[in-house]
Symmetry: C2
Subunit: 163 residues, 2 copies
DNA sequence: CTATACAGTACCAATTTAGTACTTTTTAGC
DNA sequence: GCTAAAAAGTACTAAATTGGTACTGTATAG
């Protein structure tokens, strides 16, 4: 599908949300509530983010999670690496050498490696600081100028049952 | 997984193989044999490539498939578009507006649109001509045995974009 | 007329992904 | 210490997607 998985998508949501208050410690339950996601799902994502050292955890009462470093130093590539299958690669052959039985006959592997590098670089240049929710004024301004913008959602857009 | 599907991968294999002799018409069976893939699978991929007008088909005896235009004018993005789910997008929200119920609250969609554009651009700048396997000598040698072949390939098929 | 080869459809098996439940461990605060 | 909060860990099920194949129909060259 050339899609990131939903869990990775949740990861970016969670991380950008945390980036809006980088010093604060937030519990999984708080994040789940704020983002409209299931607690178990959020926990799963946070655990993986913790393993990748993108967040630090604090157990026990008043515990939770906190970003391990400034939002500007955390890229989308970091989140993808934490939550998607490793190693990075758009094709099996470009990710893992030796798996593909065509390998010896296949001469396009180098090109895939090149493409991967470009894609990865794209993900690496965007930090969650850049993605973090803008201040209110900016948000409003961003919305106004789009004339003829279609699909301004109706009242049902807020309806959400997590899970 | 941030992977292209296997069928898309096969698509690039098939297209680059066909690009090595752009004028020739090749049957699905011939391609399957050359690439070590199942005939039914190759047929499925070729059908999709045909729907996207990347190859043209000829039915009946001595029929087969042929590239619809010079290899230098067919990009990886074209193949991805033909074989992956449409529209292009790394996340559901960035591909289809109105699907995500978080949309109104989600402020990171713009960033994803930006990332998508960069990734797509990366795929668009690589043509199958650039990925095509063999050096000139090999290509010519592969051509000689086929007697009565119509259409002498011009030098333009070797055109490479500066990487 | 017949063999070849694409076109289309439908289907099944395998894999992957998403989500949930439950148990254990840690820790702050009383 | 006791208790409650919250992460860590494990296991499992259900759903969706993907990959591959079979079968029938249609066009065409010789």
């Amino acid at each position: 599908m050339l899609r990131i998985s939903k869990l990775t998508d949740y990861g970016t949501l969670i991380m950008t949300h945390m980036a809006s208050a980088p010093e604060r410690m937030m519990s999984a339950a708080e994040l789940a509530d704020a983002l409209g996601l299931g607690l178990a799902t959020v926990s799963k994502v946070l655990k993986a983010l913790g393993r990748a050292a993108l967040v630090v955890s604090q157990r026990g009462t008043r515990g939770g999670y906190r970003l391990s470093r400034p939002p500007a130093q955390i890229s989308i590539a970091d989140i993808v690496d934490a939550l998607e299958e490793q190693p990075f690669g758009l094709t099996e052959c470009s990710a893992n050498s030796g798996v593909c039985t065509l390998e010896s006959r296949c001469r396009i592997r180098d090109s895939w490696l090149r493409i991967n590098a470009v894609v990865r670089n794209a993900l690496q240049t965007v930090s969650i600081a850049e993605m973090t929710p803008a201040p209110l004024a900016t948000q409003l301004l961003e919305h106004i100028p789009v004339t003829g913008e279609q699909g301004v959602p109706g009242p049902d857009r807020l309806a959400r049952q997590p899970g």
